[in-house]
Symmetry: D2
Subunit: 394 residues, 4 copies
């Protein structure tokens, strides 16, 4: 059952494309920008470049490329993220202090691993290798998104607000919000190969298609805009504890949260940081950079609620989505038939299923082929640094 030639050609092409996309973004940076880790949940750009490469070297080349010689034996330690079964790793908070290997050396590492993967893909091989290559590419695409949000965090906390590219804002269409009704009943949830036209890959956490019972609900077609959120703020949204979850209120108080991330008030009007620098906040743009706590408080204030991830998935074909991640009111937990893979790869998703909330949809930073209705993104409820917005349900 060897992989046929057409499939090999396609895979090689995909490999080259995805790897190049990562560098297309990092080439916008100065060497200085590759280094810091401004906060423990973010990682340096250099680290993202190296870690995604380590994934291919560690899980593929070391196993499948006979006689493979590691680029540098220290890298296994330096660029492992959290795979405990793959050996020891650098303490996470130290990522920003590793000035060496240099940026040039990391690009050389990428080129070295790419060359070997390309050679490997020219040989005959079985589906298990293809599967790992595809996983490695999807892994890299997830890091492309984190890379962008991490760089935005770094530059957005620099008092001189550097600009690195022309940022495309996401305008709402300006129409009045409309609501879609979904009927009560039993629905199927989770990835199913035949119904998902645009992707024949999914992560383990989407698998195990199963039934859920959904009650009648109405879901808003349009995401919440900046203008709507400003109404909430002007109505004392951040000063009224009764609107907030208890931990959300504490989070606001302890961190002096008074607005979405990157927003600054300047002489009575709101400005925000984008990749194009510091600019006035477009009121009709879709809101983003809010935490789950803010999303939940906003919905409560508005008299509505957030959808569960199951409601969202059932409604996905009826609503507009794909420009901003959307907080759901579901905790990130395993599906009934969830199976953890053997070995270090099994640490990919399963071990994070606690204290996080699921997000559905996709954002401007998401790879196109990750934009599928069964994709389960997840973050702790206090994080604002993703492009996360609000969908309402009643």
């Amino acid at each position: 059952m060897l992989i046929d030639n057409q499939e090999k050609t396609d895979l090689l092409k995909l490999f080259c494309e995805v790897r190049r996309e990562t560098e297309d973004f990092t080439r916008l940076l100065k060497i200085e920008d590759y280094i810091p880790q401004p906060v423990i949940f973010a990682s340096p750009a250099k680290w993202h470049l190296a870690h995604t490469t380590w994934f291919f070297e560690n899980f593929i080349l070391k196993t499948f490329y006979s006689g493979y010689k590691e680029f540098d034996e220290d890298f296994a330690f330096l660029f492992n993220s959290y795979y405990k079964q793959a050996g020891k790793m650098l303490f996470r908070a130290d990522r920003g202090n590793m000035t060496r290997p240099s940026v040039d050396e990391v690009y050389a590492y990428r080129a070295y691993v790419d060359r070997h993967i390309e050679e490997l893909l020219k040989e005959s091989f079985l589906p298990d290798l293809e599967e790992l290559i595809v996983l490695g590419l999807n892994h890299e695409q997830q890091h492309q998104e984190l890379l962008k949000t991490d760089v935005k965090y770094l530059l957005g906390h620099n008092p001189i607000f550097p600009s690195i590219l022309e940022d495309n804002l996401v305008q709402s269409n300006g129409e009045l919000p409309s609501w879609k009704s979904i009927n009560e009943g039993v629905y199927e949830i989770g990835y199913a190969q035949n119904v998902e036209s645009n992707s024949d890959f999914c992560f383990d956490n989407e698998q195990g298609r199963h039934k859920v019972y959904i009650h009648d609900f109405e879901i808003r077609n349009e995401l919440v805009t900046n203008a709507e959120y400003i109404e909430f703020m002007e109505d004392g949204g951040y000063e009224r504890p009764e609107l907030w979850l208890d931990e959300g209120w504490t989070w606001c108080e302890e961190n002096s949260i008074k607005s979405p991330l990157y927003w600054h008030k300047k002489k009575d009007s709101w400005w925000h940081f984008t990749f194009s620098g510091f600019c006035q906040l477009p009121l009709n743009e879709i809101l983003c950079h809010v935490s789950y706590y803010e999303a939940e408080a906003f919905a409560r204030w508005k008299g509505y609620r957030l959808p569960t991830e199951f409601e969202w998935e059932v409604a996905a074909d009826s609503i507009s989505w794909g420009k901003r991640w959307e907080w759901t009111n579901s905790a990130y937990l395993p599906y009934p038939k969830y199976k953890i893979a053997e070995g270090a790869i099994g640490e990919y998703n399963g071990k994070f299923m606690i204290n996080q909330m699921t997000l559905r949809g996709a954002s401007c930073a998401t790879s196109k082929n990750h934009s599928r209705k069964t994709y389960r993104n997840f973050f702790h409820p206090h994080y604002q640094w993703q492009f996360s917005g609000i969908r309402l349900v009643k």
Copy 2:
């Protein structure tokens, strides 16, 4: 629609019983034991005595007892727990430093409020008052349980392990574990007055009866015993990261967790602290004082999993339960039709619906009438100080 005489008599009787039960336990303590708050999530016994009384004074007497004179106007500040809409409150971490009012004064406060409630219940009144009294009593019963677990925490961290009463251990019946099968289908979840024979009260978080779809599963009739857990420990349970959620592993490392709470190894055998002091661990006793992290790791090691709270509720009539709280694999989140009450009372449950896991069942410290299959208990996944054990599902 005034409350009739029989109902009034019953309510008064219930009120006296519940209030006395609290003091039956606290009278076992020395004055010294009423004071400290050894850890922020626990509260002093004196505080529990006063806070449950404050609930009646603040939410009932101030509203319904015409001309009521507060026992002491400082108490509104000192003994409010977390009701932001009921005014300012003492910083939580300071509860253990309030040596005054003295224990005697707090008992006098209880007697004063009790006398006024009793007078009130002799008058004519409407169901809204009855409802609040019943809520206040259920509130007090929840605090009776916390009181016991908090006192156990205090004494169990004293190196001389004081004994205060004869503790009744919960023996497993010694039979081999048996499994019950539950069939796939749509089930109803949540409190329904007519089907719950032993209680006509429920908390707001149990309401909103609704449908869920359950897949086939088998659930073990017996809870996990100490002996079974020791097998896990002896098989390296606390040294194998692949068995743990990532945050669970970190929690073990940062807190040097190597066993359930109150367990100590003494010359090759396990001992534990109970209300009767320090004694050898009975191997056939039902395990308790484990965190969600430990419960989840144990289940994974055993090749099984924890039930969801919905599976648990559906299976409840088929299995033995009621002696130990059981961690479920469900996050504590609102039911689809959940409504938050108006005013400060609305802060009772709803604002805690984040980052906590649901427990089902009941423990040796639970009031009998809280022992119902729809009751939703909830704690953060790292807490061990409740009487929390493990139920397995496959």
Copy 3:
């Protein structure tokens, strides 16, 4: 060289007096007040009672009383403060959670140890035992002072400000401040038995009489009053970083320090907490409860400075002192000929000679026989909870 009878009688009398003085104060408390440790640098009253007793049991009875049977073998662990060479000890922050042994048991412990010491003092003995008894009594007197300041801290942080006794305020005499001149030259510093009339005991840190060179200076006879300090506050004392040591300014900012400890502004006038409860601040009273940082900033604002501990000692016979501890501008460091005693007793003073500032004088809480001009008190520069005031030098 046995101790003669008169000396024995005197020693026994002194022993009984000092031990009784401790209890004279603690008998003012309710049981509840004996328990908490509101902050890590303070200790519970019960702990002080027991620890001072442990000192006699551990360093004297166990060595000198043949066949002595410990009152309770756990107490060596529970009530050792910081003598590492005397064995393991309870973690300091846990002192407030030890509700057992109860207060009654601790009084019984005191009585038991007292009886044994008294028996011992009726026998024949050598000066080494007398020396340790005297050290134990001076140790107890130091704890009497800490006991008072720790109880004041506990009650002064209770929002209802309990009163336990009639507090005697320390009035300044209302006269204009006068200055004494001291001439440049070589002076002798440190304890000398013959020149100290009121005490034939001193601590090891006062010993090693030696020469210092002092330059001309003038020292103010009167300590700073509350009224003077309010001037400083009203002149923006707490808002002007240029008046402060860098760590002092940070300390103010991080702890929101805006006044001396226990001061509260109530409708434009200043109130403070005393052992007699909450009362209006007497403007002519001598200021106390300021940190070194505040003392230093005040002096700078006033255009003066604090004395060194050597200047203070040289001037001591020319100025009024004894009612409030006075911060000096000297770090607490060993005298040139300082010798640390062998064994656990050597840990008494020497190991604290870093990061602390010396205070000279005495306060209302100090034992009379500790009120000598060579006595070196010492605390970290941010502590306000001692009765510490300000002396000026120019």
Copy 4:
């Protein structure tokens, strides 16, 4: 009283030299190495380059250069270190996250300010300007030393131990230690222009020459070597609390300190990190990278003590020094006649005179003209990252 031409030429030459010396070191680094701040007490290389330049721009060009136009108006905020009277400043812990301005821009800033200073020095001017230039240069030389120790800290915590230059070790001469005796008496302490041949500059904290009384002492001519320190370690130095100050012992325990900084044990022999990378520890080299706590414990173990800073200054002409900073047993406090300058410059030294210990001598990283016997260096007692060693006294 204008500065004459020869003096102007000399000053200009000195200015160019000192400024170039800074860059001679930083040019050894890769761009990546300029960025991180691995620990709050260290600063990024880029920051040192910019801050020393800011000093000239802010305190000199803005005042003396008529019509001066700031290079970039954001830099006043970004590169102020701690001068509160010079305006707001970046939060210290954020220095490592400022990737922009880039390294190139900072070099351009240096060139811009240098050009303006050079122009200024070609004009006629008064001694006050010269004084500030000299202060700015001495300030820059202090930062040259910090720059080296901060870079060493950064690279020495990188697991791959990068090498940037040929490091010159400081060998002891291998002879047996010899002791010099100093006689009791009154000595003069502090900077005096005529007696200091190699420098006509000193910092404010050295000024106010005054008398001290010194008792007889003997001081060792040679500093302690690595071999001697290893003896201490092998004798259980880090496991015996009786050798340590209490805070020193806690510091060891909390930070798992088991050796000087940069030492690592590898198969029974000691290695350390230097600017030339990771190499075996030369046993006869002079010990460095110890904290005051370690220095004090070592001296106690050896049966000696550390010198006071006054003893050191009196003995300085009789002993070999200049290769390693030496911890003294004196707290960093003002001399009797110490005067703080007016304005922001007054914040240079005075506000740090608390909780720090004085070091005397000089190290391999010290500018030659800072190597004078009255120079007072100072650090907190737990810092190891300076080139700090041990001198013994008996």
